[in-house]
């Protein structure tokens, strides 16, 4: 009885948090704000209905940035063609994620090291801050290759480019957010937005809009069931083929974030979470989003954290959040009309700054390889984009993993009976080299290789033994393998020759 009330309250807070995020992320994705709200409603709803955890899904920064990056070269911002392409891309993302579910791909994300995930999150935070600058300073969209060029242009041309009214509202919002956090860490986003809104009203009262040139949110007539059939024809399919890399990148980044959140939830709460089920829920939600005029989403770090701190433990809170968004927008619509975009961007700035944590850097500074992964991921996102950062993160995590696994733990014991080499670890093509060194070191002795603690043996290792034993027979020496029963059967299957003595234990 009490628990569902907790869930409902968590849902309400989630809804209040998601409204500014949905609007600003829709802006980042190059879409009108209502698409972000539909995403906040329907992606959240489907993910919670089909998933097994209290994770809050919905509009996601990284996904929004990538959608914008993918579609902006193809069509004008927000035009019907643009919207069609976004829907097409989101359906593709859903399909890719469902394929991931079919091959049980959730395992792959276990190889992404926590340092890489923190690096991606920090990089996304940096990108959010850079994107929020556009609205904070009221710059019309201009593109530069690197972030420092943009900063340089802003500083050198501040007098012409920066809108002081917009800046004043954004600064009020950010200051209110940080001051508000001291008093109420739970509701500081709401405090920040309210302060920005009131500051905007004051500015609008004193100066008319043609003078301030401020950008407002405007009216949002939300439909309760915005059903929409995405257009698909031959030309669109041609476009779709060029969007495949983006669809894969978005699907991967979306799943990576969601699964990291779910893994954290699994560690910190005692929820019964099934990773594959979450992948399925994400895939179905993203595939269905275009049918409800929404774009693709993923799990949200900040809203899941808020949800968790309020004590929600079931998917009910997500469903409640979806419903509350619809109700809040319907009743708050007239109030939100004069919400300055600068206030929205101010809250986005706070969210972005929160994603870059100094604590993380200190935490990972202990292990050099982890720190390297973190910094490499972060800087590649800063200088290139999120997709490049994810590629770097995956590549580095996997290579660190590979380096670790290809290292064999070799122990050499010399006795009267000969030399025994104890092999610990996986014996496969990458790690055979280590064993070769040892073999060459003890060339003139009878060798016994103890394989009992070897976790994995592959064809190249067997070939290696055959080759070495031939060489040793020529020199009049013997190779003996110490194996257990299952290994013996396995070795015979792989065609090990009779001149290697095998001692089964």
């Amino acid at each position: 009885m009490r628990s569902w009330r907790t869930e409902l309250f968590a849902g309400l807070v989630g809804a209040i948090l998601v409204i500014p995020q949905g609007i600003t992320f829709a802006y980042i994705a190059g879409l009108q704000p209502e698409y972000g709200l539909y995403c906040a409603i329907f992606v959240t709803l489907f993910c919670s209905l089909l998933g097994s955890s209290s994770m809050m899904s919905g509009p996601n920064t990284a996904v929004a940035i990538l959608i914008g990056a993918a579609i902006l070269p193809l069509a004008g911002r927000g035009s019907p063609l643009y919207v069609d392409f976004v829907f097409l891309l989101c359906m593709m993302v859903g399909v890719v994620q469902l394929v991931f579910w079919l091959v049980r791909g959730a395992r792959i994300f276990q190889y992404l090291s926590p340092a890489a995930i923190s690096g991606i999150s920090a990089g996304a935070g940096f990108l959010i801050i850079m994107a929020s600058l556009d609205s904070i300073l009221d710059l019309s969209t201009f593109k530069t290759t690197f972030f420092f060029e943009k900063l340089f242009v802003i500083f050198s041309d501040a007098k012409d480019l920066v809108n002081p009214f917009s800046l004043a509202i954004a600064v009020t919002t950010i200051v209110a957010g940080y001051v508000g956090r001291r008093f109420s860490p739970r509701y500081f986003i709401i405090i920040a937005v309210t302060a920005g809104y009131l500051c905007g009203l004051l500015v609008a009262f004193i100066w008319p809009q043609p003078v301030t040139e401020l950008e407002y949110l405007g009216r949002m007539p939300l439909q309760w069931l915005p059903f929409n059939v995405p257009t698909i024809n031959m030309e669109y399919l041609m476009i779709a083929s060029t969007l495949i890399p983006y669809a894969v990148a978005i699907a991967f980044i979306g799943l990576a974030q969601s699964l990291v959140i779910v893994r954290e939830l699994k560690m910190e709460t005692d929820q019964d979470i099934n990773l594959d089920k979450e992948v399925y829920a994400q895939g179905v939600a993203n595939f269905l989003a275009p049918f409800f005029s929404g774009f693709a989403g993923a799990g949200s770090f900040n809203r899941t954290k808020a949800n968790q701190s309020l004590g929600a433990t079931t998917p009910l809170s997500g469903m409640a959040a979806a419903g509350f968004v619809l109700i809040l927008i319907t009743f708050l619509g007239p109030v939100l009309t004069y919400m300055p975009m600068a206030a929205m961007a101010g809250t986005l700035f706070i969210v972005g700054a929160d994603m870059i944590k100094l604590r993380d850097i200190k935490h990972y500074a202990q292990v050099r390889s982890e720190l390297f992964i973190y910094l490499a991921t972060f800087t590649s996102i800063m200088f290139f984009d999120l997709a490049a950062g994810v590629v770097v993160a995956v590549f580095l995590s996997v290579s660190v993993f590979m380096l670790r696994i290809s290292q064999l733990d070799l122990k050499v014991e010399t006795s009267a009976a000969g030399t025994v080499i104890k092999v610990k670890g996986a014996l496969f093509y990458a790690s055979v080299a280590h064993l070769t060194e040892k073999f060459h070191q003890y060339m003139d002795e009878d060798l016994t290789v103890d394989l009992q603690f070897t976790t994995h043996i592959d064809q190249s290792a067997v070939d290696f033994f055959i080759r070495e034993s031939k060489g040793m027979t020529n020199r009049g020496k013997h190779l003996t393998l110490l194996v257990n029963e299952s290994q013996q059967a396995f070795l015979e299957n792989l065609g090990i020759s009779k001149d290697i003595r095998q001692i089964s234990l």
Binding site: G76, G78, S79, F205, Q209, R219, M220
Partner: protein
């Protein structure tokens, strides 16, 4: 010398021919609407056309009253003497209204602020870009910098009499009220001409001469130029006296100060 002149003449003829064929080759809006796939420009043109004809649905974000663009820009901005939209070649230009150089984008944004009594969209709003594309599409074949034929509304000649709102009321009740309503609220699909759902005091239509020109040339709908010049001026004066939203171009703070001082 003579030879070069001939060459220039020939080149000019070729250019003109090209312009003429380009104008003919441009697909009509009806054709574009049937196309299953459009490139970026034409998809924006169609979007702009949809916004102009059904502003309430397609640009509701920035609209504050219940008008559509095509209520004044008749026939989706293609009818001469009814504020046609084929004016892309005339911008940017200086306008007295805001005392600065106006691009087509700023002109469109101000329409949303005044005539649609809404809020100014940002410079790079998709709606503004789409309407710009549509205006460019309609301006195909016009001469850069020159006024197109039938631009804006006709300027009425001086009738020798002041506009008389009382007479305007009589004309309005007999000729206009059947569509625009006794209280100017608009009947069925016809636009309201005063009240809080109509254009505000900053709009061009709130100018007596401008509105009179529009009314004389186009009203009653389909029977344009049936009123006399004086009747059109009278109706325009009557409309000008009615209640409508305040001019958003003026500071509310200064207004409050004025009110407090007086």
């Amino acid at each position: 010398m003579k030879y070069s002149q001939q060459l220039v003449c020939g080149a000019l003829c070729l250019l003109l021919l090209n312009a003429a064929t380009a104008q003919q080759n441009q697909p009509s809006i009806q054709q574009l609407l049937r196309e299953p796939f459009l490139d970026d420009y034409y998809s924006n043109v169609v979007y702009g056309y949809e916004i102009v004809t059904d502003t309430q649905t397609h640009a509701s974000r920035y609209v504050g009253n219940s008008l559509n663009c095509s209520n004044c820009h008749l026939q989706a901005g293609t009818q001469p003497d009814a504020l046609p939209l084929n004016v892309a070649g005339m911008y940017p230009k200086w306008r007295a209204k805001n005392g600065k150089r106006n691009g087509i984008g700023l002109r469109i944004r101000e329409c949303f602020l005044y005539s649609m009594d809404g809020i100014m969209p940002p410079e790079d709003a998709p709606e503004v870009l789409a309407i710009s594309a549509y205006v460019t599409y309609l301006s195909q074949g016009q001469v850069m910098g020159a006024e197109p034929e039938g631009r804006g509304v006709p300027t009425l000649p001086d009738t020798g009499y002041d506009p008389n709102p009382a007479n305007g009321r009589a004309v309005y009740m007999s000729q206009c009220a059947s569509c625009h309503g006794q209280q100017g609220e608009g009947v069925a699909d016809m636009p309201p001409v005063w009240g809080m759902n109509s254009y505000n005091k900053g709009a061009g239509m709130n100018n007596i001469r401008e509105a009179a020109g529009f009314i004389w040339a186009n009203m009653p709908l389909g029977q344009g130029k049936s009123l006399t010049h004086q009747q059109a001026l009278d109706v325009s004066a009557y409309l000008n006296l009615q209640i409508r939203p305040a001019d958003p171009g003026r500071s509310k703070f200064l207004k409050l100060l004025e009110y407090l001082i007086n």
